[in-house]
């Protein structure tokens, strides 16, 4: 393991200095924090690396999907409805599990307020279409 680890740092440092605009990605610490919060049991270092890779792939897929959805609707902007549709396709939002329940369950209060200023029912606060 030591042999594998040692020669790495030198070329890596060169690489980062060569291409300055680093690809934006969610902070590793945040991914780690969220993931370990959900699994509740110890996770090895290498397993976290796999999770990071998965996250990158997730965002790539997400961008493709969102593009397809908004193009399909003839828009250039991704609307809330596109994301709701996406989550419905993913099986996250269902009839038994509406989007605002997920929002209430997973997002902190300050964000919840932005997404559901008043409870969705009847009110036209969140444009559903």
């Amino acid at each position: 393991a030591l042999q594998l680890l040692r020669p790495k740092p030198v070329p890596k440092r060169l690489k980062t200095s060569q291409r300055k605009p680093r690809e934006p990605q969610v902070a590793r610490s945040l991914i780690k924090e969220i993931f370990s919060h959900f699994v509740k049991i110890p996770v090895t270092r290498d397993a976290f690396k796999v999770v990071e890779k998965c996250s990158e792939r997730f965002f790539k897929q997400l961008s493709n999907d969102l593009e397809a959805y908004s193009n399909h609707a003839g828009r250039k902007t991704v609307e809330m409805a596109d994301l709701e549709l996406l989550m419905r396709r993913q099986g996250l939002v269902t009839d038994k599990m509406p989007l605002h329940v997920l929002i209430e369950r997973y997002l902190p209060l300050e964000y919840r307020k932005l997404l559901i200023p008043v409870a969705v029912s009847g009110n036209k606060v969140i444009p559903l279409k």
Partner: protein
């Protein structure tokens, strides 16, 4: 758990993949929510894998096979 979403980072990531795509206001929050739920699923899947292998820790292979399921 830290509860702020890396909003500008999320926008940057999508911008990086799809430069011409615009995000409506607060749509990035739903992207964050989607990401949280994705990690949640991955975590659940990896955990059941670990339990099936009678492992007390999550190893790379557990997350790998979890990722394949999703």
């Amino acid at each position: 758990m830290r509860c702020t979403a890396p909003r500008s980072t999320l926008r940057k990531i999508i911008k990086n993949h799809k430069p011409q795509l615009r995000l409506a206001a607060n749509a990035d929050l739903l992207v964050h929510l989607n990401f949280l739920l994705f990690l949640h699923r991955l975590a659940e899947e990896a955990r059941t894998n670990a339990f099936e292998n009678k492992s007390k820790v999550i190893k790379p292979e557990h997350t790998m096979s979890a990722a394949k399921v999703l």
